[in-house]
């Protein structure tokens, strides 16, 4: 079965969606991603959807789910590279993806995750540093 690769980059996970998601694939991705977060103890998830041209409400909900689940597991989610048409569709569907961070491209998304990570580190140093060492 088709799978979307999840790459580990330091404390972050990088997912690049290169094909249009169908429902089963999206569910698999959600599942794999959350397992991966728990396995690696990742601090951030970056999803690149620049190649996705079609979304529906299900896809929007999956993105929201991934963000909420990651949040519980102490990882921030950033969705990057959304196409204008996709953004308009999501807004028209009433899905504004609350709780999901967004960025224009992967580079800016990484930057955002880094600043989030530093911000979190400053918040409660001790525990964060432990985790960070393990990730590195």
């Amino acid at each position: 079965m088709e799978r979307i690769p999840i790459l580990k980059m330091g404390p972050f996970l990088l997912v690049t969606i290169q094909i249009d998601l169908y429902d089963r694939l999206a569910l698999t991705l959600e599942n794999d991603l959350i397992n991966m977060v728990s396995q690696t103890g990742a601090r951030g998830v970056l999803i690149d959807i620049s190649a996705v041209s079609i979304v529906d409400s299900f896809m929007g909900r999956i993105l929201g789910n991934i963000a909420s689940m990651s949040r519980i597991m102490d990882a921030e989610t950033v969705v990057v590279g959304m196409q204008p048409a996709v953004a308009i569709t999501l807004v028209e569907l009433g899905l504004t993806l609350q709780g999901v961070h967004t960025a224009l491209n992967v580079e800016k998304g990484m930057e955002l995750l880094n600043t989030k990570l530093i911000g979190n580190l400053e918040q409660d140093e001790e525990e964060e540093e432990d985790q960070n060492d393990r990730n590195d």
């Binding site: 959304m82 204008p84 953004a87 999501l90 960025a103 491209n105």
Partner: protein, 290 residues
């Protein structure tokens, strides 16, 4: 006995003369928009066509092929007049004064035969009424085309996306925001964000005359879409009345960054991108330090 068509054909010159007289004597004639020679030429063409059609024995159905030329000419005249800015009354008078001329001539020719005259007048009445309906339809269509073109132009010229700084876009909205325009505004803005890779978009609504709940909803949509793309959106140019309306309507803009003027929005954008604007020591102007 002469048929109607023959009578009319014989008196063509007289009808044209009377028609021109009627048109020229009308107080509302716009000789500034059209010369009387031009009018004469137009009228003659029109009358020729009409008589040719009538001579084929068709008196009532103007959608038949015989009348194609007449209706075509009439449509041309009507559309031209609509574009030139003639009033509906002037355009209507053009056809209705022909009716008067025709009837006057018929009355002169048929003084001894009132029953035929009556029938003929009835027929002509229906015919010319139909023609005047065609005129009006075309006239209104012509005007509507003008309006549509203007609407298109307005929506095109009024949604420019300005790059005010590296990574900062501004979008001044002028005029009422309806669904169609919001769509255009949104598409332009999002496309420009992708093209320039900007982080911040400033939506300036000082040119929006009124904000109701629908307009506010459109604004919120635009802001959400911008946020989904990964850029921040600031709304600026909120006037006192608009702030009042928004609060009275109970619209929640607390999730959106709002500023009173474009200047303060730009300032906020600078501080969000860690830019600093400061005065040069020599007072030579503004110097921007990264």
């Amino acid at each position: 006995m002469n048929t109607t068509a023959q009578v009319l054909e014989k008196n063509k010159e007289r009808i044209l003369e009377k028609w021109m007289q009627n048109q020229l004597s009308d107080a509302s004639l716009r000789d500034d928009l059209m010369t009387s020679d031009e009018l004469q030429r137009q009228s003659k063409e029109m009358l020729d066509g009409l008589l040719r059609a009538v001579s084929k024995g068709n008196h009532d159905n103007i959608y038949d092929t015989e009348f194609e030329q007449v209706t075509d000419t009439l449509r041309d005249i009507s559309i031209t007049r609509a574009r030139q800015g003639f009033s509906p009354r002037e355009t209507g008078t053009y056809v209705l004064s022909l009716k008067q001329a025709l009837i006057e001539v018929l009355v002169e020719q048929r003084q001894d035969d009132t029953s035929t005259l009556y029938m003929e007048i009835m027929q002509l009445n229906t015919l010319l009424d139909n023609l005047s309906i065609v005129t009006f339809e075309t006239f209104i269509k012509g005007r509507e085309e003008v309006i549509l073109r203007q609407t298109d132009e307005i929506s095109e010229i009024s949604t420019p996306v300005i790059r005010v700084w590296d990574g900062i876009l501004a979008l001044p909205i002028i005029g009422t925001l309806d669904s169609a325009r919001t769509q255009i505004v949104m598409e332009n803005l999002l496309q420009e964000i992708v093209n320039t890779g900007s982080n911040i978009a400033i939506l300036d609504i000082s040119g929006v005359p009124a904000v109701d709940s629908l307009v506010a909803q459109h604004l919120i949509k635009t802001v959400s879409a911008t946020r989904l793309m990964g850029a921040e959106c600031i709304i600026s140019g909120i006037r006192a009345e608009i702030a009042q309306t928004i609060v009275h309507l109970g619209i929640d803009l607390s999730n959106i960054k709002t500023k009173a003027s474009l200047a303060s929005a730009l300032q906020l954008a600078f501080s969000m991108t860690n830019l600093e604007v400061r005065r040069n020591d020599k007072n030579k102007g503004l110097n921007i330090m990264r």
